[in-house]
Amino acid sequence: MDWRQLWEICSAPDNVPIVALIPLLAFYIYLAWRQAHANDQLIGQLEADPALAKTHHRKTWPFKPGWQKEVHVWPFLLRIEFLGAIIVTIILMIWSITLNAPLEEPANPNLTMNPAKAPWYFLGLQEMLVYFDPWIAGVVMPTMIIIGLMVIPYIDTNPLGSGYYTWKQRRFSISTFLFGFVILWVAMIIIGTFIRGPGWQWFWPGQTWDHNRLIYEVNRDLPDEVPRWLGGPITSNWAKGVFGAIVVGGYYLIGGGAVYSLFRRRMAKDFQRMSLLQFSLMAFLWLTMVALPLKMSLRLLWHIKYVWITPWFNI
């Protein structure tokens, strides 16, 4: 256990935000979960008792007839904003006094940093470089993330859960977002920051960064792994391209069928509300997101590098 190494990583000034992000995220997930739980209980109670549902003010906070429904912004909101500004200023001041912004040696194109890391908020994408070619990890994925986020309001047709925390009424959308944000984005950043060392190799926390470590990994492509009884391994470039297209296309077809089946059975109302375009867009984006951990496990567990090989691009 190399404590010094661990301390060096955790106390690197630019890593401190990530160290701060973990407890912050945990706290806010807890805060959201607590309110979602309370709301869900209230919803259950009101659904069981229609008479109460007609008269109840439908919030978990107390409200009595005669209380004012609205409050003045001055001072009830402005004092919170003012207080917030003061607290942020104090935190920022203390942080700036105690911790210096990093400044390395002058830029030198002839002296490569190892590991050369992107800013911490892009480390998730850099981690993806291990599993995907740069055009996917660096260009297609960020574009898909942005487009995927932007279409969310147009493909989520569930009218429930607007303006309050809930879990029961939005299981699919919330678990999808949590998966994308916490597991695929934040966890990858944490891996990229704390785990990845020289040569972008995997070093467990507390393991010494060995700059001379070599790992002999034989990564193979899926067409080479096709077993003999299925006619493999595939050797011609032409056949490799067709094989990959079938595998990738098949993933989306079978996956799309599975999502369809799931929605039709478990989320019939949501499915009814969605147009065909909304549904297929949602299924495509969802399957693309799920493809990330699938490709990662292909690589980590079976040492498979590419699934689809063509003369122009590899996936």
Partner: protein, 315 residues
């Protein structure tokens, strides 16, 4: 009195004039002794209520008395505060619902603008001077170190605050009708926040920034169609000297032009675009009906029924 004395003297007119002057002066002195103190006293009394002075009434367009009307006017007639409504839902001020992250993000943007402008006084975006300027700032400029620290940490905090803001907005379903468009503006603001931080990373011109930006922009080489190493790039005539990476860096390597470009994007280009988007974002928050909640919970069976109240009429 003056007339009686004049009647007996040869030089009645002259003495009369002198007399007139002396009595006049005496009169003035008398007035100074009595009227001016009285007037001054009256005016000082008036100053005890500064809200009645002309200066005050010219600045603030309403009275300061603690009445509901004045509380509302205090918000509505102030250019900075009138982003708020005069009154809000009593539960909307609950921190557990809003987390305050949108406001904190905006406040951090203000801090970053302020510290950023101060930093610009000491910084030249050229290969010769950039790194030296940062050294000078850290060691010689009074409060230069804390200035740079605050700018850096506020930027990191802003990234975290934006993420948490988006997380909250998602969990409360606040992107749902009628706020779909504002969610999209928010996604763009998220992208611009990351780009602002990323373009600032190169400016100290040290190893950290240089290699982070090298790693980051190397991905642009692999852009499909537009990068010389991306799929179909070379078929479309892309080389290291005309592809999208060349456009970003102003050259084929991260050098003086890249430094200048990232400086201009960082200090002028992106802040202007982001400010415009922020204006739209805040304006839409109001136009879409203020913050989304905490709203009364909806029951599952109500999902496809028109909502009660004025909104039902519109749909």
């Amino acid at each position: 009195m003056a007339d009686e004395n004049n009647a007996n003297g040869k030089n009645g007119n002259k003495t009369g004039l002198l007399d007139k002057v002396t009595t006049g002066v005496k009169d003035d002195i008398q007035a100074l002794k009595t009227d001016i103190p009285a007037k001054a006293k009256e005016q000082i009394e008036g100053l005890k209520d500064p809200t009645k002075t002309q200066v005050y009434t010219s600045i603030f367009r309403h009275k300061h008395d603690d009445t509901p009307r004045n509380r509302a006017l205090g918000v509505l007639s102030n250019v900075f505060l009138h982003l708020h409504p005069a009154k809000i839902n009593r539960d909307a001020v609950r921190y557990s619902y809003t987390w305050g992250m949108g406001g904190i993000t905006f406040y951090l943007f203000i801090i970053l603008t302020y510290t950023g402008v101060l930093l610009m006084f000491y910084y030249h975006p050229s290969k010769v001077q950039a790194f030296r300027d940062v050294l000078y700032l850290e060691h010689d400029v009074p409060f230069g170190k804390i200035l740079r620290n605050m700018h850096r940490w506020a930027a990191h905090l802003m990234v975290i605050a934006v993420w948490l803001h988006m997380f909250r907005v998602f969990l409360t379903g606040s992107y749902k009708k009628p706020r779909e468009f504002n969610w999209n503006i928010g996604v763009l603001l998220l992208v611009f926040t990351l780009l602002l931080s990323f373009t600032g990373y190169l400016l100290p011109d040290d190893q950290l920034g240089f290699w982070a930006v090298t790693v980051g922009t190397n991905m642009a080489r692999a852009t499909p169609l537009l990068g010389h190493e991306g799929p179909f790039g070379s078929q479309l005539g892309m080389t290291p000297y005309n592809d999208v990476r060349f456009g970003l860096l102003g050259g084929s390597i991260v050098d003086a032009n890249a430094l200048l470009r990232s400086y201009i994007w960082h200090c002028i280009g992106i802040p202007i675009v982001a400010s415009v988007l922020m204006i739209v974002h805040f304006w839409r928050v109001r136009k879409d009906g203020g913050i989304s909640g905490p709203a009364p919970v909806m029951l599952t069976e109500e999902a496809d029924k028109p909502r009660r109240g004025p909104k039902a009429a519109g749909e």
